[in-house]
Subunit: 126 residues, 2 copies
DNA sequence: GCCCTATGTGAATAAATATACAACAAAAGA
DNA sequence: TCTTTTGTTGTATATTTATTCACATAGGGC
């Protein structure tokens, strides 16, 4: 019975928008499968379905994804502030694209500013 | 801040397994975004993310989820440069103790400078 | 026959997610 | 400036989904 029900679920989510498990339950009942929401929660897990803006769908690829507890990287920070790096004389400017905040790194001399800029670019590329 | 938070969310779900909105909330907090689950529910809807066996993902493509040879963290960088955060009027100063380089964040106004300082401090605390 | 283990299920409930509403702030008009 | 409008967010709560527990059934070995 379970395998048939799984097929019916695949069929349903493939052809119609199914927005919740309770909706799925009602649609299945019309096809002769009378089960509870708890069972459907388990079915959805077994079928590895995804729920998104278009309701439940068969998941395309199971992304492996790794655990991440690390503090934010420089690249992530600069990215999240939407910044770009540019050197001007002895200063390195991290200006926002939208133009709100501007970050200025003031160095003792031009050579040092070049080093800082290069290092920041390296960080951003990595 | 909403756009930047959205970028951070995209970044996070692309690189790490995010299994719930509360987990996402904790990870965002380490990046300086302190918001509630309710806000993340709205963000996820706006970003049209899907939730499946691999946690939240961008709807369009299944993220490749690469191994993480991560760039240096903000905390590490600021720490390694021996910097301290301080707000002065509409500016936030990340000054080196030894006095070589000085980083200046220039904001449109004092309130915004307060936000930036607070966000940087949040990043450093976590 | 009995006992044991697997599996499947529902009811109740825990956990996760969405939303109504109020407060507030920023932007737009007057 | 003051007022209005629009957008963002948190709190509290409603809704939805996952899980725990108990029970039932099917099959295998004795």
């Amino acid at each position: 019975m379970k395998d048939q029900r799984h097929n019916a679920i695949r069929e349903l989510v493939g052809h119609a928008l199914v927005a919740s498990q309770d909706e799925l339950r009602r649609k299945l009942r019309r096809r002769g499968f009378a089960v509870t929401q708890a069972t459907l929660s388990r079915d959805i897990h077994e079928l590895r379905l995804s729920k998104g803006p278009g309701g439940y769908t068969l998941s395309k690829t199971a992304g492996a994804a790794v655990e991440d507890n690390s503090p934010p990287s420089v690249a992530e920070m600069i990215e999240s502030f939407g910044m770009r790096v540019k050197q001007a004389m002895n200063q390195v400017v991290l200006g926002t694209v939208a133009g709100d905040d501007t970050v200025l790194v003031i160095c003792p001399d031009i050579r040092r500013a070049g080093e800082v800029e290069s290092r920041l670019r390296t960080m951003l590329e990595s």
